[in-house]
Symmetry: C2
Subunit: 150 residues, 2 copies
DNA sequence: CATTAAGTTCATTATATTCTGAACATAATG
DNA sequence: CATTATGTTCAGAATATAATGAACTTAATG
């Protein structure tokens, strides 16, 4: 197993740990360690020795996650894939979204619990405040980054 | 199905979406919507109508994730569980950890790719810079929160 | 407009995860 | 020190998820 192959598997396992298909991680691994921008469907299929179905499904998964993007070349039928250029915006957007989702869950929990004097209620209220804080602060990091790189 | 039961299932589904056992989410749902701090192993088992094995395994999963914590009462053999008081610290710590893990993956990918002139290399380098930025900034949010709440 | 290339879909198979329940460990109680 | 309460462990069953490969769709090419 070459170093690159080992790396590809490692990204696969990383992805799996987060409950996502290993193959999606492997595709990411290919693109992250590739010498070039131009990696086609077939090339990924050959490198990973996987079926067309699996490559197709997982490419689309990664496209939906905004982890990769598709680009094309004129007079060439193929599509090519690369790590998403716009991923910087999406990284924090995704984090904010998951914070929001959990904030909503916390709020619903509190609404159901009507015993406002219990330790549990107060504790969860504190956590909710913190999530609200994070929800406004995380997008500001993006702004800070932009300023710094101007 | 009562509103509370619906809520518990909803948190289960939320957890499942992130690749974690639904039962762990259900336990969280119980604790988030509970009127009290004192929820024992058996009470969770009864509410969720699940096996001892599943409750045991998923309580320990949540303890390891620092999502819940165990507390005891003198002259009582049982253990009781609640949403972790210390979770505020752990939320950002966990986020930073996952940022670090991915930063390391990005670095390894760049190291394997020796064609430093390709668009791909430059693109991934930019993303790496951003991850380094996030890795220092995220812990600072915790500091900001502490200051604000003094 | 027939042919080919590029990718999708989906039924089946393979794999991995989770749940169950009974047997087991541990420690507090009387 | 036998009994009971509290939880753990683990083999097997149930369930869920992912990969395969062949048939299909779509659209570009000659």
């Amino acid at each position: 197993m070459t170093e690159k192959e080992k790396y590809i598997e490692e990204v696969g396992v990383f992805y799996e740990k987060y409950g996502l298909p290993k193959m999606a991680g492997r595709i990411l691994g290919c693109l992250l360690s590739s010498e070039t921008d131009n990696n086609s469907f077939d090339k990924l299929k050959d490198i990973l020795k996987a079926s067309k179905g699996s490559i197709s499904g997982n490419i689309n998964l990664l496209l939906n996650q905004n982890m990769i993007e598709k680009h094309t070349i004129s007079a060439d039928r193929k599509s090519y894939y690369r790590i998403a250029m716009n991923s910087l915006e999406n990284i924090l957007e995704a984090k904010t979204k998951s914070v929001t989702e959990f904030r909503i869950i916390l709020e619903k929990g509190l609404k159901i619990n009507s015993n406002h004097n219990d330790l549990n209620f107060n504790n969860i209220s504190d956590i909710l405040d913190y999530y609200n804080f994070l929800e406004t602060e995380i997008p500001l990091l993006r702004v800070k980054w932009e300023k710094r790189n101007k």
